[in-house]
Amino acid sequence: MENLIRIRDLAVRFHTYEGVVHAIDDLDLDIRQGETLGIVGETGSGKTMTALAILRLIPYPGRIESGSIVFFDRDLHSEIELLKLSEDKMRSIRGNKISMVFQEPGAALNPVYTIGDQISEVFLLHRRRLLGKRANEQVDRLLRDGDGFAAGIKRPFWRWQRRLYNKIAQESNPFEPRFLSHVPLFRRLLWRLKDESKLLTVDMLKDVEIPDPARVAVHYPHELSGGMKQRAVIAMALACSPELLIADEPTTSLDVTIQAQMLELFRRIKVEKGASVLFVTHNLGVASEVCDRVAVMYAGRLCEVAGVEEIFLNPLHPYTRALLDAVPMPGKELQTIPGALADALNPPPGCRFHPRCPSAMPVCQQERPKLKEVSKDHMVACHLF
Amino acid sequence: MSDWKFMVRQLVKNPLSLIGIVIIFIFVIIAIFAPLIAPPPEGHLNHYMIPRDGYSATPQLPSEEHIFGTTEGQYDIFYGVIWGTRSAFHVGLVVIGIVLVVGIVLGSLAGYFGGVIDEIIMRITDIFLAFPALILAMAIVSALGPSLKSVIIALTVVSWPSYARLIRGDILQVREEDYIEASRGIGASNFRVIMRHALPNAIYPTVVMASLDIGAVVLAAAALSFLGLGAPEGYADWGQLTSFARNWIVGPSSDPLRYWFAVTIPGLFILFFVLGWNLLGDAFRDILDPRLARR
C-alpha cells in the first residue's frame, strides 16, 4: 500500500517556564492510503501532539523543531512537505484534504450558529467551484424550462447569474463575485451558492446517520445530544471528502452504547469513503475495534507499530504487554506497571521505559532503542530485539 | 517553585506594578515619618491641624519658610500634604477594612446559603446601589455633620454593597466545586466550609478590587472635602487643601498660573496616591490570572 503521510524525525518541544518538554522525540511514522491507523498511549505519550503536528496546530509554547511530514496528494499527484507550507496553503489543506475531529464535540461547534450553517461553511470555503457548477446548472434549468411572462422578465437576470456562476465554477476569480461577496446588499445575489451548500449539507448529515437531517440542520448545537453533536462534527470533517481524517479521542466523552454506534460509523466511513483515518485514543478496546494498524507511544516516542491482530495477540514491546495486562477484563488478574509515567521535564535516559520495564538491561539505560522491523510489518523499538 | 515566589517574581517583573509598589512605599514612608519630615511647631497640640502663618486670604508663593507655599488662610501646604498622607491612609484603610469585613460576611452568607437569605441580602444591596454613590455619601455626611468620621461612615455605607455582590458571585462559583462537597462529606460544618475552603479560594478578585478601591475611596474623600463636607477647617487633608484653593485656581489676568501650587500640589499627591494603588491592583489582577492558568 502506498503512503499517504510520511513522518520522519519529527520533534516537538515545549519551552515552558519550568523547562523543556520533549512532547515528540524523533518520530518516524507512516500512514497508508485507505487505512485506519490507531495511535495508543497514555498522558504524555505524544499521541495528541502527533495529530496536531500534521495539521500544524501545535499550541504555544510548543514548536515543531525538526523533522518532515510529507503528504502525498492523490489529486495533484504530488508530494507536499507540510512543515514548509505557508500558512495560506496550509489553510487550504485543513478541513479540505486533511480534517480533524476533536474529543469534545461541544467545544468544536460554535454555539451561535446552526449545525447546517457550520457544515455549509466548509463547503463555501473549500468547494466554491463545485457549488458554482451546481448553481450554474440550476440557472441553466431555469432558463430552459422557464415559461411565461414572469420568466421572460427574469431572463436577462438569469443570464447574468449564469455568467457569474460560470466564472466561480472555473475559479477564474474575476472581479464580480469578489465584489459581490463583500458588499452587503449584493452578497445575497450569491444565495444560490448557499442553497446548493445547504443541499450538500443535508446529504452529508444523512451520510453520518443523523435521523431527519433536514430538521437537524436548523438546530443549534445545544439542542443536540453528545452523540449527535459528534456526528455533526464528523460530517463537517468529511464534507470535503478529505484524504486523511484525524480523530483525537472522538468517543471518549460519549456513553458506551453511543460509542458503539460511532465505531460502527467509523468502520463504514473507511469502507465507503476510502479515506485514511488517524485514530488517537487511550482505550485499547476502541483501537482494536476500529483500526487496521496500531502504533503504541510512550513519553513522546514510538514503541511498537503493527497490524491490529499482531499487536494484540503478539505484543512484543514490554510497554505494550504491560498496557494490555493492565486493562481490566472479567476473570483476569489485573497487572500493574510499577512506577509512574515518565516525567516530562526530566525523562529517563536511553529507553524512556527502562525504569519500569521488567526486562530492562544495562544497555537500556544508555542507548535509545531504534525502531526495527522484527517480523512482517511489525516494528518495535526495544533492545530486546 | 512555590506559589508565593512565583507571585512575587511576576510582581517584580512587570514594570508598571513595580512603579506602583514604589509609589505606595514612598507614601508609607512619608506617612510614618511625618513628624520628622514636617515637624509640628512648638506647643502645637493637635498635629493634624495645619499651622497657620497669619490670616491673610491670599496664598503665598513657595519660599524658604514654606516649601510648597501657603494656601488661603495661610495654611502651610507642605505640612498639609505630608500629614495629609496619614489622613489618606487612615480613611482608605479604615473604610476598606470595614467594607471588606461587612461585604465578606454578608456576601458569603448570601452566596453559600442561597434561598431566602440570599434574596434578603441582595435586595438590601439593591437599595443601597440604587443611590448614586457620591450623592448618598454627601447626604450622609451632611446629616452627620462634616468631620472625617462622617466621611468614613458615609464611604463605608456606600461601598459595601459592591463587595457583598462580588464575594457572593465568587462564592456561588466556588460552591459548586468538588472539594467543597468533599469537605461537607468529611463532616465539616458550614462555618468551616466557608471559612476554610470557600473563602480562601474565592477571595482573590475581592483582593484586587480592594486594592483598586483604596485609591478610589481616598479620591471620594477628597471630593467630599473639596465640597466642604469633610474634615473640619484646617485639618490636614488633601481634599481640604484643594478646597482652600478653590478661589485661586486662576490668578489675576496678568499671571493666571500664579497660584498654581495651591491646587496642583495637593492634587499631585492625590493623583500619585490613587495611581500607585491602581497600578498595584492591576498588577494583582494580572498575576492572578496567569497563575490560575498555570494550574
Partner: protein, 328 residues
Amino acid sequence: MRRPVGAVKAVDGVSLAIKRGQWLGLVGESGCGKTTLAKTAVRLLKPTSGHIYFDIPDEVKAEIEELESLGKNSVKLTSLLKENDLATFSGSRVRLFRRRAQLVHQDPFTSLDPRMKIKNIVAEPLTIHRVLSGQARETAVKELLSTVGLSAGQLNRYPHQFSGGQRQRIAIARALATKPDFIVFDEPTSALDVSVQAQILNLLKELKSEFGLTYLYITHELLIAESVCDHIAVMYLGKVVEMAKPEEIFHKPLHPYSQSLVASTPVPDPTRRVGRIVLPGEVPSPANPPPGCTFHPRCSRASQECRELEPSLELVSNDHYVACFHPL
C-alpha cells in the same frame, strides 16, 4: 424570584441492599442516576422520599423484625424505623455518620482544595471530629499516606504538584482517616490513564481486605466493574434494571439493556468485535422519561405491556434480579 419548572426524577424508586464486606458495582451511562444515588447513600444529597438504613445495631434489627413478623402496623414499628432512617438524620447524627461512611469523588483534579497542603487535607477529618491531635495526628497522617503509597516527604506540598493518580490516592487517604466502614467511589478512575487505573484498583483491593471495608463503586465501564466487584447493579434512567454477579452479567445478561451494554463494550481483542446488537437511538432525557418501562423505545423485545406498565426488580435465579417483562 425562582419557581420550580419541573421535576427531574434522577433516581426513581430504587431499592438496594449492600452487605457488609461487599463490593457492589453500580453501572450505567450518563443520566442514569448512579452518581445521584451514590451521593444520596452518604447523605450528601437528601432524598426526596424513601429511607436509608445504615448498619442498624443487631438488637434494634431483631426488634424490628419481630414487630414486622407480628404483622401489625404498630406505632412502635414506624417510630423505630423512623429513628434509624438516615434520610431523616440531621446535625450531629449526620456528622457521626460521616465518620463511618465516605465518598471519593470522580475528578481528582477538583476534589482537593487547591489552597491546602496535603497534610492538612488528609488531617482535616481528624480535626473536624476531634479524633486525634498534635503529634498523634501527624503520625496518623503519615501512616495514611504510606498506606496509599505516598511518601511522607511530600506532606507539605500542594495538590497541583501531584499527578492525577497521586491526587486520587490523597483523596483515598482522606477518606480512610476516620476508619470508616463504608466507602462510596464515584468513578474514581475515569480521569486516569490505564496504567494508573490499574494501580488504583489494586490499591482499593488491598485496602478493602486490610481494613474490612464495604464498597459501593460507581462506574460507566462495565469491564472495571466485572473485574473487581463481587456484585453488579445495572442502572438505566433512574432505575435498577438488573442485579447479579459479574460473571452472570457478562455471560448471561437477562435484561436487554445489560446485554447491549456488554455487547457494546470494546475489548482489546481483535477477534471479538462489538456485536451487531448496536443499540439504536439515544438515552432519553431524565426530565421526560418514557412511560411504562423506561427502556421500551430502544428495546427490540418491547410489547404493549412494556409501554404501559413498569416492571419491578424480581429475583429470577440464584442471586440474579431483573426488572423486565421479557427477560432474555
